[in-house]
Amino acid sequence: YLYNNRYAGDKVIRLIPETKREAHVLKDIYHQFKVDLWQPSSISSVSEGMVTDVHVSRNSSQNLLMSLQQANIQYEILISDLQEALEKESSWRTNRNRR
């Protein structure tokens, strides 16, 4: 596997905070879980109505999703297994060469 399979089980989640309260809560959650923000590029840019995509590790994803549910924030899982998506990004020949 590419990158020693380190992204197995990692997820990319989309959230769109609908209110200022939700945006504030999301910022706290992102800080707490030290997420890799795909968009926007900075946690401080997260605001009401803005699309946010976060990459969260396998170990943190369950707790993060629970926090979102407790805060009643809707989310969508864009990529359920990042390693799988990574392997599909390139052809088998490219992947073989890289390995």
Partner: protein
């Protein structure tokens, strides 16, 4: 030959640089390779000067890709652009006009250290790889390190953040090298184009504030026509507008710096997609993404050749 190199796969930094060396030898009539400095880790910063040689000064367009390491579709587009230019110079009157009247300075990989790191270690790395003596974290956001409202809104002073602006403006050797190159030639450079991913947008200044640029009507009409041309390929919609309101406020960006330096047309492309694949755009989508983007870039370039 051009035909042996695949433009529909992602390449390592070494492959891209070998390709640049190869074109420099085999297409010397239209290509000249330059090194404009060294990266933090000591790698050469190569650019390609593309266009018909002229004894007189020609205006130029600057194109850079891969400021952010994980945005691989950017460097793929830069390579595609060069390929298209060389392959269609004789057969396409528009391309011939572009290369006869202008030079194109193409930097296929701006953030060479970061790109190599994302290829070998951390696919989702964004920043450069410079080290900070006081913190354990590496890297500066190369699109927050320019001297234009440096480290204001949308950038961070904390070295472990992905939008870390650096200890001072142009602290990153890559940023400093490109800034020096552009500053020296600013009288001749008509457009600055920077390629990122992902959001499907065509952005123009300002990023750092909510305000209208003085030449708004010319820039806006160029952007409108460019996205219309892009959409004509496969129906893919791109939004366009000032970066601050279309995307988000960010200070210290290359696009704002280029504009402030006097380059009248400064654009940042956010290429495909809008989140389904995100940074992991499959190789099968390189061709349509680059084909449509090519139409936009040609449109902008031909707009430059007319007076607005």
């Amino acid at each position: 030959s051009l035909g042996d190199y695949s433009y529909e796969v992602y390449h390592s930094l070494e492959e891209i640089q070998n390709w640049m060396h190869h074109l420099n030898k085999t297409h010397s009539g239209l290509i000249h390779m330059l090194s404009i400095g060294k990266s933090y880790e000591g790698r050469s910063l190569f650019i390609l000067k593309l266009g018909k040689r002229s004894r007189h000064h020609k205006r130029a367009v600057w194109i850079d890709c891969g400021i952010h390491a994980r945005e691989w579709i950017g460097p793929a587009f830069c390579q595609w652009f060069v390929k298209e230019a060389l392959q269609t110079y004789r057969s396409d009157p528009a391309m011939r006009r572009m290369l006869n009247h202008l030079y194109f300075y193409i930097m296929p990989v701006f953030n060479v250290d970061g790109y190599h790191f994302s290829w070998t270690s951390d696919r989702f790395w964004r920043k450069t790889r410079s080290r900070n003596s006081r913190f354990r974290c590496h890297g500066v956001d190369a699109n927050r390190n320019w001297k234009v409202k440096w480290c204001d809104e949308g950038a961070s002073l904390y070295p472990c953040d992905d939008t870390y602006c650096g200890p001072f403006p142009e602290s990153e050797p890559e940023v400093k090298a490109v800034a020096h190159f552009l500053r020296k030639r600013r009288k001749y450079i008509s457009a600055y184009l920077s390629f990122h991913a992902y959001a499907q947008m065509l952005l123009y200044p300002y990023s750092y504030k909510y305000a209208t640029i003085p030449n708004f009507s010319c820039v806006e009409s160029a952007a409108y026509n460019a996205v219309s041309a892009l959409q004509s390929a496969y129906g893919v919609r791109y939004r366009f507008g000032p970066a601050s309101s279309t995307l988000y406020v960010s200070s210290g960006s290359s696009m704002d710096w280029a504009y402030k330096t006097g380059i009248p047309y400064a654009f940042a492309f956010e290429l495909r997609d809008t989140g389904h694949f995100g940074f992991l755009l499959p190789e099968s989508l390189i061709k349509p993404t680059c084909t449509e983007t090519m139409l936009a870039v040609k449109n902008i370039t031909l707009h430059l050749l007319k007076k607005c």
